[in-house]
Amino acid sequence: MMHIALVGNPNTGKTSLFNQLTGTYEYVGNWSGVTVEKKVGVLRNKQAKVIDLPGVYSLHPLSRDERVVTQFLLTESFDEILNIVDASQLERNLLLTVQLLEFGKPLAIALNMVDVAEGRGIFIDQTKLATMLRVPVVPVIARTGKGCDQVEHLLLEKATEQTEPLALFYGGTMERAIERFRAAWGTEEKFPVRWLAIQFYEGNSYVRDYVAEKLPEATWRSLYEQAEKEVQQAEQMPPAQFIYERRRSFVKEIIEQSVQRKEIERVTLTDRIDAVVTNKYVGIPIFLLAMYVLFQLTFDWLGAPLSDLLDAFFAGPLTNVVTAMLETIGASEFIRALIVDGIIAGVGGVLVFVPQIFILFFFISFLEDSGYMARVALVMDRLMEAVGLNGKAFIPLIIGFGCNVPGVMAARTIEQPRERLVTMLLTPLMSCSARLPVYALFVGAFFATHQALVVLSLYVLGVLLALILAKLFSLTILKEEASVFVVELPPYRMPQWQALWRSTWDKGKGFVKKAGTFIFGGSVAIWLLSYVGPHGVNVNMDDSFLAMIGGVLAPFLAPLGFGTWQAGAALLTGFLAKEVVVSTMNIIYHVPDVESLQGLMASHFTPLSAFSFMVFVLLYVPCLATVATIYKETRSRKWTMFSIGYALVLAYIVSFVIYQVGSLFGF
């Protein structure tokens, strides 16, 4: 099957087009660096595979996500490139196109965002552009799907054509350097030699490593140094800059001939929003206010009533119907207990929170798709600089409020390896949606009058600790490199309802899926462990295996205020996924609904120990999926262990202090 790679600048709509072409959903958002890894899909007519890649400005990678693209082009086999070009930013987009044309694979251009370009008074003559670049050009609007059919046709026809790599003339000095490279390189034909030479002189680190494998060090070094000296002498600039300038003048020429500009002098909507949102004085307050509203909607104004309705449904009608059904089919007591006390209590106890979690994801999707995310990076940079990170690290942290796994992945766009590592290590401190059921359970039981405030304090605690630790890590174990910050701020776009819903569902479905798999399995296992003990089945729960296992931990937890086997068992299972803590509690306390559970828990916890428990759940070890992602991203067992270890220590210390100090003050 044919393989087509989507390559283009960041935030030009590659993934939007990918979704249109394949009829699937991958992560779309309005900032640079949404896609951070390769994704493969199949065209709707099943005739070709399409590969979505992260956005890049050039083939010379700076950050981890950009490396993915260079690595893909150099090491994987594919038949054709579909270059997505943002019509409203033609110049910098075509700089990449030139490099791709030099690479010599069959290429077609999808000219995206023509609607945005026209709004700015930019009209592109696509036939002219196509003749000048000698490749087909199709205007599209990936957001609505306009023109996507033509792209599909073109892709399937195009594959048979053979293209010559573009041979842009770089001037005498540079051309001589390219010839020297060609002579030294010999006849290896995997990539066009000319392309390799240019990328090599441009300082592409990936290509240099590739060249260094084939050529002796002395050879490639002298090639490079000679070119550097000669170009500097002849042009008064380093080769990389000279190559850049040459490409730019080529691109300018093309634009001159194929683009018409109508002067539309007006203040754009983006300008007007930015005048407020990134205002010197109200920018930060607006961000805090936005976070507060998001939070209140999720927990208080909208989410809580919906969850209560669902809880009432599970506890009442659903349990009754299931019990009645089991009776009519004459199920044994064991089966009845397993289903009603195990599965409905365990899985239902978590599913109750679906409305709140979807509301949270909806607002995160809104932040992502509107273009505000990059502004957050800008607004928060000063604070992040103070703790040794940069504003871009705030994006993974906010995504982490939804789920820590994509948060850790999002750190790939941070250029500086040290800052990226610290961000990955700290993202698990963000209170993800899976921890929300635990809070809801406890605040309902112990802090009925100040529910939202108490939960908010946990979120803030997570962020504060992350900032403090960032400072600590940057001062101690990770102090070599200086921090840098450059962020691209895209124009605001009004998110479309359909896209928002797709994105919310895509994030939220993981939670529902987990309820059906992990939590279902976990509930059955926990129920069985609580049903069986060393002295037989259907034992008193205090004599069950679960009590034994939890009991081992209890003494260690006593100084934190919750030294019961129940807490120990719940925390142990919570490592799988933090929601399982709630499932376990539901099963252990053996009650039909959240309300009666809360009543019962009052005898095992005090408000203080309940708060201490919530803090512990917030901080202690990232969940299994997050740990796996940290390992995948750092490829280091040491840092993965560290992420677990420091979290455990931190959780223990903070909970200890809260409980002991709180006790002193008589809470």
Partner: protein
Amino acid sequence: MVAMTQLRVGERAKIVDLSRVSDLVKRRLLDMGVTEGAEICLKCTMPLGGPFMIENCGQCVGIRRNEAMNIQVKPL
């Protein structure tokens, strides 16, 4: 010729010299089309020595103050 930090918010200027900017930031600026000779507009600055937001051809970029200090511009 002045440093970019001397511009007032809303003022337009032409970039004259980028050579003192750190390599990584310079690469990113070039990627986004902010080069010597490009016309920019200072959109806003963040308080307490926070970052600067500049616009070039409809594209906005945020950079730190200490980098902006190393960019020489000519007000228009």
